[in-house]
Amino acid sequence: MIKLVDVHKNFAGQKVLNGINLQIRKGEITVIIGTSGVGKSVLLKHMIGLLRPDRGKVFIAGVDLGTLSSPALVEMRKKFGMLFQGAALFDSLTVFENVAFPLVEHSNLTVEKIRERVMEKLDLVGLHDVDKKMPSELSGGMKKRVGLARAIILEPEVILYDEPTTGLDPIMTDSVDNLILAMQQRLKITSVVISHDIKSTFDIADQIAMMHEGKIIEAGAPEIFRASKNPVVAKFIGT
């Protein structure tokens, strides 16, 4: 579904991505792990064309992102949902309007249907009675969950999650993990998840990829990962 070939990215001389090769398969959950600041968020932004590689290519369903015009890129992004690390809620809109935004833009559902869908998704992420609040009135974890509801509302083909469970309590973490799993099983959604939580990583992943010094140093099924001989990987997952 998504393929990165030899992707390089520098920021003002700082090498962040240094030859990333990674394949995200359709209908699977791929979890990306790695130390803080290694470039996971940067990598995720390459998958949806928010950042362009200095060198290398990104393919979505076989199409090279670098060759798309700006309207074609907009069209392509309709297949995607994304949760940002900082939630990135529109601060001039209410929680309800934030979650409804993709529906209002890209569907022709009636107002009642939209209301129904939004309330259902807010319920799924464990939020009640917040729909009229502004994002500035929410806690960090609540913002994250509103962002999550917004990312999944269109039930797109691909969802990119940047640390969906960071800042949530253990119970909420479990329920978000279950939500991601349910989206995959029920709707065959392809997911890319960035996570710092080793337990949930092994709970949900079909494929795990570990980033280190600008490269993917190990990628594969959780069992393969557990048995990895790479000392960096072993140290990180604590085996």
Binding site: K45, I48, G49, L50, S70, P71, V74, E75, M76, R77, K78, F80, G81, M82, F84, G86, A88, L89, F90, D91, F101, P102, E105, H106, L160
Partner: protein, 268 residues
């Protein structure tokens, strides 16, 4: 010589390079905004909200500044013209200057100070908190969603505000001229009607529309290119206000040349 190159030429070259670089980026931004302009969906809600913010909410400050600019202008010209016994020309002089120059330029500067600074700050904040990226990922062009309504609203509202400024300015001048300087009302108005043509007025509004277009694109661009936290947003706001003001004054010269050629009566 080598030292001279190191100290002066090198930084200067870098500076020129970076200015040309940003001009290039700015032009791309401008063309992209124009390319998205006619595309559907038309976001009437966004447009009306911007028109309210830029137009309606700027009206009080335009009235306030207009009345005082007209008044102080009448005071100055009244005193000076009295030296040649030409006080009756005060109305005409003010009418011409207001409609042709002061109205559009002052209004554009007030809109820059009040609305464009807010625009740059708002878009800058949206940029650094990834809200603009979020729009992108939701398959909504940020240019279409954020820039186009602001561009249209500013281009339409600046001329309207200019018309208000012109009118209020003349009223301010009227009161100072007639009530304070005791210029004869008949002569004041006669000369005003005689010398000020409707084409002067419309020429000024055309100018104002161009100003509105430029300052909105500059301010949106400034916000879109904001980098790094609150400080970056502050910097982008300052840049928007300075660049907009400078561009208003510079384009004014070229627009005036053009408008004098095509819009005004050949005799004046």
């Amino acid at each position: 010589m080598e030292r001279f190159l190191k100290i002066f030429a090198e930084p200067l070259g870098k500076r020129i390079n970076s200015v040309i670089h940003s001009l290039g980026h700015w032009s791309l931004f401008l063309f992209e905004s124009l390319a998205w302009l006619p595309r559907k969906p038309y976001r009437m809600g966004n447009l009306l909200r911007q028109m309210e913010f830029i137009g309606v909410k700027s009206t009080p400050i335009i009235i306030l500044t207009g009345v005082f600019v007209g008044a102080v202008f009448a005071l100055q010209t009244g005193k000076s013209f009295a030296m040649f016994n030409a006080e009756t020309l005060v109305g005409a002089t003010i009418g011409l200057s207001l409609t042709r120059e002061i109205g559009p330029v002052f209004t554009a500067l007030m809109v820059t100070a009040r609305a464009c600074s807010a625009m740059a700050a708002e878009l800058g904040t949206m940029r650094v908190t990834e809200q603009i990226d979020a729009l992108d990922t939701m398959a909504v062009s940020p240019i279409h969603y954020l820039v186009v309504p602001r561009m249209i609203a500013t281009t339409l509202m600046t001329p309207l505000l200019t018309a208000i400024f012109d009118l209020i300015g003349v009223i301010g001048a009227y009161f100072v001229g007639i009530k304070l300087l005791e210029i004869s009302e008949g002569a004041f108005l006669d000369k005003l009607y005689y010398y000020v043509d409707i084409r002067d007025f419309f020429g000024g509004l055309i100018k104002a529309a161009f100003f509105g277009f430029f300052i909105s694109v500059i301010s949106c661009y400034s916000g879109f290119t904001a980098k790094g936290g609150a400080e970056g947003v502050g910097r982008s706001t300052t840049r928007a206000v300075v660049a907009s003001s400078v561009v208003v004054l510079i384009t004014d010269y070229f627009l005036t040349t053009w408008i004098l050629e095509y819009f005004s009566r050949p005799t004046v």
